[in-house]
Amino acid sequence: MTQYPDAVVIGAGIVGAACAEALARAGLKVLILDASFAGGGTTAAGMGHLVVMDDSPPQLALTAYSARLWTTLAPELPRNVEHDACGTLWVAEDDEQLEAVRAKQRVYADHGIAAETLSPAQLADAEPHLRPGLAGALHVPGDGVVYPPTAALALLQRAIANGAELREGVRVDAVGAREVIVGNERIACDCVINAAGAHAPELTPGIPIVPRKGHLVITDRYPGFCRHQLVELGYLASAHTMTTESVAFNVQPRATGQLLIGSSRELVGWDMNINRAIVRKMLDRALDFMPSLALTSAIRTWTGFRPATPDKLPLIGAWEDTPGLWIAAGHEGLGITTSLGTGQLLADLVVGHEPALDPVPYAPSRVLAGIGTH
């Protein structure tokens, strides 16, 4: 590139790809750098569940905004992104959880998000492989599923169509004021976006992001075995608490007919080995909800690292310590969903447009102020 870029995005995961797409669409000359290959990090390990979550009001705002952007984009995505508007079923085990389902439905209704409560009979009809005796579920029809690595590629291709350039296998050594250093090369630019996910603190010390490990198991093809993304209501608690170890029932039907079985959370650093004990625990939890999963054939397991922040919200906005540096990282387990909202919000902030949602809760300055490190 002879002409220096307006923006350098570090990280071609789905968040970096979405930032690049939005910035390029806004007319900026964008250069994307990735240490490995596009969509190969946390993005590749994720489930690809597009889900509205209400753990906190800012989380609900960002996921709902992103969900709308995904719905708009979906018809334009190539087939290999495997977008499937399968919806989510939040499964309640008992009356107490069913009460929580009803509360959740009210919150969604307040935000204009369609959701309906299913009776036990309706739930059994919707998902015959769930065990009998469940209390009901919240059906969120607007949720969906994508295959994350190709979703990231699709966003990058859109960015490239708007003049962006992608360089893979390029490891950034340092980030300075309006510059990026790669080996002996200094790339000058107006702004740098650190979208390196769980690796973001390596380039911007002080970002409170830690890798939160997860395991997934995928089966052979069983088309029609389940039709919705199935998540136990207790998932929210599993995702919310920063305990060292938790599992939750989370099963997803893939476009291929395969079943993706999750989920687990551990704080063990960057150890990428399969933890057999937690896989067993995770599968036991899944079998508790769907006993006939026992007779499906598992073909592969893997691990990945969610970029986790102390207050469960991503960092999106300017990093005030370094002129021209912006952060778009720390999306924990919601990066696929919130990538589009993040990209649009970040691009609006960079070019000075009025953003569609209040950027304050996501501002990285909250970290510098010591907020949210409870």
Binding site: Y222, P291, L295, S297
Partner: protein, 454 residues
């Protein structure tokens, strides 16, 4: 609804069976049989695991009463008397290491089996390497080893026009067996150069039994055409194979054929070794003089340590059986015989290495991954196996890339992806099975020799 998917019977529950032994030998081909018999003869409690119904592996496959070589009969009789316990129809799903040793998770007829051992001998053998070309997925195209297996299990090629194209010494016995079964051998095409094959043949005097075998095989299909420096570039047919395109680099022609047997030699099954963490080099497990891998208390024998044939596998198995769990020294004659066969194996490796021209075999529309229907044009730009898997789904199907990835790694110089459990598809019930704290364990005994474990 359940019935649509599950034909393997009812869910057996999570109660796992536990077996405790001194040594687990994984794979019951010649190497595994020799290792298990030799270790059990020393009084060790040995569990020999194999996914097949009968011991013998691919090479000594003997279903339907098909005759097996005398040496195989001798070793099977020795195994029978040794006191080793054979766990048939048992496939290994995972191996984990803890302070007490190893825990092997296996699937045995739909049930979980946990095998606790202090030593492992890997005898996981080898499989054929395929290089994809246009038409290789047509019915009528099969592996050379696959054709051999089909013959051994009673399949017939009578009256069929057969082309055998590929590389390696396996082509000769298969050609002979096909000719004997009434197949019309149109062409046996060896990709290696005539001069190299001649040099290899000339070196066979060093391992006389092999030479005799080669001569016998050649005699049985004298009437058909054996060409060196020749390979198949495409297979044609609408519903099934009708003809193949053949080239020798200078001239290209068509041959009418009903069956094409193809394969570019054998590659070691190193996945389990890699899962355990054993070092591999050039696609084979690294072992020392006692067949020990780089992981303590794990040995490897036979083809998984490099392709060398049944005689070498037997010697390696015997050495591991003698040295497992001990510091016994190996008898010198055994070491000398291993050195002789190893030298022959190295020559073979050089002679039959696939030529560079084979890298041009696939076209952009050639299907490379049969599980996921991925074409060569789609994977070509990936920089490694992992990228191809994630971006194109190549190697993501039920076979987990066992068929396509070795060929693709040859074609595109990719690094292999990591190996993770399950090592082969396993029921979720197996993968989630845990040994209950008070689960009954069956301690293998060795009925033949008293408890003289050293």
């Amino acid at each position: 609804m359940t019935g649509e998917y599950f034909t393997t019977g009812e869910y057996a529950g999570t109660d796992a069976e536990v077996v405790v032994a001194d040594v687990a030998v994984i794979g019951a081909g010649p190497a595994g049989i020799a290792a298990a018999a030799s270790a059990a003869e020393r009084g060790l409690r040995v569990a020999l695991l194999d996914r097949g119904l009968e011991s013998g592996g691919q090479i000594w496959r003997h279903i339907n009463g098909v005759a097996i070589p005398r040496v195989a009969q001798q070793w099977l009789a020795r195994l029978d008397k040794s006191g080793a316990q054979i766990l048939r129809r048992t496939s290994v799903v995972d191996v984990s290491v803890d302070v007490a040793g190893f825990e092997i998770l296996a699937e045995s007829s739909g049930r979980a089996l946990h095998i606790r051992v202090t030593n492992i001998i890997l005898a996981t053998g080898a499989r054929e390497m395929f290089i994809p070309f246009d038409g290789w997925t047509l019915p009528g195209v099969m592996g050379i080893g696959g054709a051999q297996a089909l013959l051994k299990s009673g399949g017939s090629f009578a009256g069929k026009r057969v082309v055998i194209a590929g590389s390696g010494p396996l082509m000769l016995p298969v050609a002979a067996a096909l000719a004997e079964s009434g197949a019309r051998l149109v062409l046996v095409a060896e990709q290696a150069k005539r001069s190299a094959v001649a040099r290899f043949a000339a070196g066979l005097w060093r391992t006389p039994s092999t030479l005799m075998q080669a001569a016998r095989y050649r005699a049985r299909f004298m009437s058909s055409s054996y060409s060196t420096g020749t390979w198949v570039t495409a297979a044609h047919g609408s519903d099934r194979l009708e003809s193949v395109t053949v080239t020798n680099g200078r001239r290209t022609w068509r041959e009418t054929a009903d069956v094409l047997c193809t394969g570019y030699g054998l590659i070691p099954n190193v996945e389990l070794a890699r899962l355990i963490g054993c070092e591999t080099r050039d696609g084979a497990v690294v072992v020392d003089d006692d067949q020990r891998t780089t992981i303590a208390n794990v040995q490897a024998v036979g083809e998984v340590t490099g392709i060398g044939g049944a005689p070498l596998s037997l010697i390696e198995g015997e050495i591991a059986g003698l040295t497992v769990g001990s510091r016994l020294s190996v008898p010198l004659p055994l070491l000398r015989r291993r050195a002789t066969f190893e030298a022959a194996a190295r020559r073979m490796f050089d002679v039959f290495a696939p030529r560079a021209e084979l890298r041009a075999l696939p076209t952009p529309t050639t299907i490379v991954c049969r599980c996921e229907d991925v074409t060569y044009g789609v994977v070509q730009d990936a920089v490694c196996a992992r990228q191809a898997k994630l971006h194109t789904r190549a190697g993501m199907g039920p076979c987990q890339g066992r068929t396509c990835m070795p060929g693709l790694e040859f074609l595109l110089a990719w690094h292999s992806d990591t190996v993770r459990p399950p090592i082969e598809p396993a029921l979720v019930s197996i993968l989630s099975s845990e040994v209950a704290k008070n689960a009954p364990s069956s301690f293998l005994s060795n009925s033949c020799v008293g408890d003289v474990y050293q």
